[in-house]
Symmetry: D3
Subunit: 127 residues, 6 copies
Amino acid sequence: MKKSFVGAARTAKRAYSPAVITEGGRTIWLAGHTGAVDDTGKSLAGDFDAQCWQTFHNIEKTLAEAGANLADLVTMTVFLIDARYTTRMTELRTEIFGKDFPASAAITVAGFARPEMMIEIQCVAVV
Amino acid sequence: MKKSFVGAARTAKRAYSPAVITEGGRTIWLAGHTGAVDDTGKSLAGDFDAQCWQTFHNIEKTLAEAGANLADLVTMTVFLIDARYTTRMTELRTEIFGKDFPASAAITVAGFARPEMMIEIQCVAVV
Amino acid sequence: MKKSFVGAARTAKRAYSPAVITEGGRTIWLAGHTGAVDDTGKSLAGDFDAQCWQTFHNIEKTLAEAGANLADLVTMTVFLIDARYTTRMTELRTEIFGKDFPASAAITVAGFARPEMMIEIQCVAVV
Amino acid sequence: MKKSFVGAARTAKRAYSPAVITEGGRTIWLAGHTGAVDDTGKSLAGDFDAQCWQTFHNIEKTLAEAGANLADLVTMTVFLIDARYTTRMTELRTEIFGKDFPASAAITVAGFARPEMMIEIQCVAVV
Amino acid sequence: MKKSFVGAARTAKRAYSPAVITEGGRTIWLAGHTGAVDDTGKSLAGDFDAQCWQTFHNIEKTLAEAGANLADLVTMTVFLIDARYTTRMTELRTEIFGKDFPASAAITVAGFARPEMMIEIQCVAVV
Amino acid sequence: MKKSFVGAARTAKRAYSPAVITEGGRTIWLAGHTGAVDDTGKSLAGDFDAQCWQTFHNIEKTLAEAGANLADLVTMTVFLIDARYTTRMTELRTEIFGKDFPASAAITVAGFARPEMMIEIQCVAVV
């Protein structure tokens, strides 16, 4: 599978690429992932940083079941409960990805399936 | 076309799969579908169940024009006017799909193109 | 790459196709694009028409870097700050695309990364 | 009790007064009133006109219990589920009040106590 | 100061009165009160029950400075971050007031001054 | 008319008082005021500072018609289109009032009567 990044230098400080090009390979269509509880089942209500990390961790676990990892993501839509979390999300994403960022949109929504959720990410990987 | 479901047992009770993998085939990129009027043009304003059924029915009709059906959906984003409809939507989706659920995110939004709309679903099928 | 439009006559007046089918080719996964400043850096705060045009212009520039253009878009999700902008967006999209419209969903959201943003579009092209 | 209207001609076409002045008398602090079911208990889900009429009718009934009527209202806050209902609400309010309009604010909110509710009005009367 | 409750039996199970009538006395116009931190400054982020109790506790402290208490409240507007907290708020309000409930509206909003806030209450007391 | 401020030192840096007490006098119930156009009719779309100033200016004009001024305000509810404008609003309010601040709540809403509106303030004055 061939993959390339478009205009990535322009938006690297926000931890995403304007576009990612793929050709062939397997496409992994991921459900919206959230992180309102940690791996032990403890609530992360009210802790945006923890929920954001947990969300990416949960995505990583699903990708692992598919024989893939976070570096294989090509695009994502990040749904946030408050617009002021956008910058913090990009900071955490910078730590998590480091480089070769997927495409991304970040949107503030009116709510999620459960009131304690603060972030949901739906994404696509190609391997 | 090859298709496989990832971690599906974990989330079956919410009628979606954490991820669906496809390779090759034709990709059908569907527009956001809604169901604010029934097949005869009668308004379904205020009736969430009816709008949810109609929305999946309208998706089915578009898929049929493309030589596909609901079982070919691999991912969807469900936009809802009120978070409290999320569980009802998953119940209806359980009836409609039965098994082999597509990936899905469910998001509560601030509004739609017309004020009587209560649900919009954008999805992708691969055949 | 083969591409076909499904049921396009039904929804042409809203400048989108119910579905677009692609097979093979390269997939360009675009980030959410916005248009809150023009090409010279001048703010377009409060001017929906200008932001909508600029957003499509910015998408066009990213596509050009990928060797593609607006006609290669197959689906988009349009996020709007107010539902009443939906019709105006479809009018502008009619002017921009003319025919062979991509699939599309149009959703009203609670906010964006910066408060002056009025529209964000995330899309996929296949070439 | 003395009551006077301030600048009422300026905003009469939107069926409110910029300010209402009261001195002395009894103040009736009304709860938020809604109209999601009619007097027989039938659901008015999805029917904005009916809910708006019913809401004012319910306010009228509460005022009657207090020995007052709609003409005694001095201010109200109208909460709406969709901004596009604002104009229709002012049309109905014009029919209901005719003249000597109370002060008013009209706000679009993210939701109400029950998902079928489309309007809630909180108001104050002075008699 | 004379105070009376209108139709209170009808709505007692939701812990509010349809209307409260006052005549004369001193009016205490309270600011919107919140409860995102407890009395020691510890964050209550993500804990709706704690924030709801703290909010009423903070209102009580302000009222005490004015020589009044919660029983003197005549109306309130309760702003909530998620509609599903409405019922829980009425349960807590039942415990706090017991009887002779003030008028009230409960509205779901898009956000507050700080993202960790889940409830804000603006109210009026007459003594 | 007697007026006193409760706990004002605690919240002065956010330009409001926790409570304001009034006794007797005339009560001026103001409608929700906005500031989407300036005194010459020019649109202030997208310019929060200008809309905020204009809104207080419009309130001042209505108060003048009632023989009052901004210093007579005792409480207000500030409705904002984006939570991130809350701090800026308090800065402007500090400049406008200087001291003896009214009570206030600041809420982020989903929308207003017209899409270009960014702020609406509903308030009460006692003289």
